[in-house]
């Protein structure tokens, strides 16, 4: 957990624990807490709040059921604290010791009464390899592996069918001692070899079943098995995972939960001097900075840039925030032969002498993403602590000042935990750069209609489908600003919309002459008993504001609603504190407001008989 800053000293820590509120606890959870402090924070917060879920959280509270084959209670506090670190409330249920199968299959079990929203299946290596001995034949070992795989697959399917919720599977720790040695896999009945084969088989299997892995085996390979497993604790308390590592285990679970809810970080904001190269470009000049082959330091900076570029290729947005003259700051990107990162890799570049907190705000504004999706790396402890203080929602890892460590620290922190790679992810930096080019064209266009016409926009719509599912869920769970009702849905909820014959879920993609903006809007509608089409969800990426996407989308919604026999469209606005930009959305589109309360929530109606589709500069088609 070395990416987190040091916790407060003991006296301050104890004082803070005595007066805990949810936000105060969220702040305390941002520090490097050992397992005792993790347990303390969890316990004191429960004493302060009980089981009550604090109101106004941006993310739906999680009900996590842990189905284990051994003791897992030592892991609960750290999982709750990892949720806390992400401002997510987690309630945990644990199946009775070793009873995971019975609880899954018995509709009257405590598990069913709990009604989890996420299930974590944690089967330990001793349990999985039970019964196997070195005496068995290759065929018998093979059959045993198939049996276990079938059993695990059956658990996944039982959980999904019963609870219609995501399933996380914890891999087994490689804790068995070797019998043969380095070529262990040649002994079919070896438990060590069996667990290795099972863990390998779980990868494609989980992928095919839509289950996500909690890969503690990978983590143990990096940290050393001894950090994760203590045979003494296994024999004493049947703990496969040591309480000492619980904070990291909890954080791994927290990352998966956040990713599942579309709450992973999205953008890496990088300092330049001594972060991307050694030295100060403004003082040392292009020839003076340390970058590239010839020195360990220079190679380390190249390696970190390479890591950042790889992140961008899998969908993480890259930005720069540097105290520099802008021209100086660009010079290495354009002219230094050893620079790995190029101009085109950076979606947003801010180099000036303002304070970094203000500049990071500007970056979030320009990219139209939330501050809570930014990770800021800077070798300078002063800048790190300033940004932490001014912008507590921005993640600021303790990367230190040794560039050989930067990539590992960013990776270990798991900010960008991803579950699937969508087409949009791959093209992301290009999209944000396209925005910059569109801005330039808007500045040069003499009038707005000419600009819009010149964009040659096409809105391509499809009903919800399996291919777009990951992106649909991502948008539903992370769109805050242009979101009329901010209802968060899981993959299973979205699948239910696909099956709804009296409603529709629409995904809209916007193309223009600068490229493909990807899926930029989602609408969910369903018929009511009064033959109205209720617009349950309407959300849009702010990247495409001001481009007539809204009236064009209304044309589509009206057409689909008429197809279902609707007489009227009914739209709702539910204020959240982040979505005031769409308060008058329906009025602007010609709806009549029929109800509004003091919170600002409203309901508006559009009569379809009298509706004339708006003329826009966007061509719309199904595709």
């Amino acid at each position: 957990m070395n990416w987190l800053p040091e916790p407060p000293v003991a006296a301050e820590w104890r004082a803070a624990l005595r007066q805990l509120s949810w936000p105060a606890a969220v702040a305390l959870a941002q520090a490097r807490l050992d397992f005792i402090r993790t347990n303390q924070l969890d316990e004191m917060l429960r004493r302060a709040l009980g089981d009550a879920i604090p109101p106004g959280l941006a993310t739906k509270a999680v009900r996590l059921a842990i189905l284990g084959s051994c003791t897992t209670a030592q892991l609960h506090p750290a999982i709750r604290v990892a949720g806390l670190r992400r401002n997510i409330h987690v309630t945990i249920y644990e199946s009775d010791y070793g009873q995971y199968w019975q609880e899954l299959t018995d509709p009257n079990s405590g598990l069913h009464a709990f009604a989890p929203t996420i299930v974590l299946l944690a089967l330990d290596a001793h349990h999985l390899a039970a019964g196997l001995t070195a005496a068995v034949s290759a065929e018998e070992a093979e059959a045993a592996l198939r049996d276990i795989q079938d059993r695990i697959g059956a658990c996944w399917r039982l959980a999904r069918e019963a609870f219609r919720c995501p399933v996380i599977h914890q891999t087994a720790l490689p804790l068995h001692p070797a019998l043969l040695g380095q070529n262990e896999y040649r002994l079919p009945g070896s438990k060590a070899a069996f667990i290795a084969r099972l863990n390998a088989a779980l990868r494609p299997m989980s992928d095919a079943e839509g289950v996500d892995l909690l890969a503690v085996d990978d983590r143990a390979a990096r940290d050393g098995l001894a950090a994760w497993h203590d045979p003494g604790l296994w024999h004493r308390a049947k703990q496969e995972i040591s309480p000492a590592i619980a904070p990291l285990h909890g954080d791994l679970v927290g990352r998966l939960i956040a990713a599942k809810l579309g709450r992973s970080f999205k953008c890496l904001v990088m300092d330049l001097d001594n972060t991307l190269w050694g030295g100060v470009i403004g003082d040392d000049g292009l020839e003076g900075i340390v970058l590239g082959q010839g020195s360990a330091l220079g190679e380390a900076f190249v390696a970190f840039q390479g890591y950042a570029r790889e992140l961008s290729r899998r969908g993480v947005i890259l930005a720069v925030c540097s105290k520099n003259d802008e021209a100086n700051a660009w010079e290495p990107f354009d002219k230094h032969p050893e620079m790995v990162l190029k101009r085109t890799d950076i979606a947003c570049f801010v180099a000036n002498w303002s304070d970094k907190a203000a500049n990071i705000r500007a970056i979030a504004g320009q990219l139209n993403i939330g501050l809570d999706s930014l990770v800021f790396v800077d070798d300078n402890p002063f800048e790190r602590s300033l940004v932490r203080q001014e912008l507590p929602m921005v993640a600021v890892p303790e990367i230190g000042d040794d560039p050989t460590r930067y990539a590992d620290i960013v990776a270990d922190a798991g900010y960008f935990e991803g579950l699937a790679v969508t087409q949009e992810d791959r093209a992301r930096t290009g999209q944000y750069r396209g925005n910059a080019l569109r801005e330039a064209m808007r500045a040069s266009a003499t009038d707005l209609p000419a600009y819009l016409r010149g964009l040659e926009m096409q809105l391509i719509w499809r009903r919800f489908d399996r291919i777009g599912l990951a992106r649909t869920v991502q948008l539903i769970n992370k769109t805050n600003q242009f979101n009329l009702t901010t209802r968060r849905y899981t993959e299973d909820d979205v699948s239910a919309v696909m099956r709804d014959a009296r409603g529709f879920g629409l995904q809209l993609r916007l193309l223009d002459r600068f490229g493909d903006n990807g899926i930029i809007a989602i609408v969910i509608g369903r018929m009511t008993a009064e033959d109205d089409l209720l617009i349950d969800t309407w959300l849009m990426s702010c990247r495409v504001l001001g481009r007539q996407v809204e009236p064009t989308t209304l044309n589509l919604v009206a057409e689909r609603a008429k197809g279902l026999g609707a007489r009227r469209l009914v739209g709702e606005y539910v204020p959240t504190g982040k979505n005031s930009m769409v308060r008058d959305h329906y009025e602007k589109l010609g709806f009549a407001v029929t109800w509004r309360d003091e919170s600002g929530a409203s309901r508006a109606v559009l009569d379809l008989a009298g509706f004339t589709p708006a003329e826009t500069f966007i061509d719309m088609r199904e595709g």
Partner: protein
Amino acid sequence: MQANEVYDQLTDIFRDVFMRDDLALTPELTAKDVPGWDSFKQIEIIIALEEKYGIKFHTRELDSLHNVGDLARVVLGKTQH
């Protein structure tokens, strides 16, 4: 390290683990005397001590612990060089 230092540091650890600032340790104190001192808390205390002093308890040592005095003796024995 002196026995009184060990008791001071053990007291800090016990107060952290049980979240009770009024907990006072005596050599005769046993698990029966402290509400919540179960086998899981016992493991937490042991791991906290192992991390604090960079020591490792032997399983036989753990099995022979009956009160705080036993615990302090083992820690003292392991930290004296």
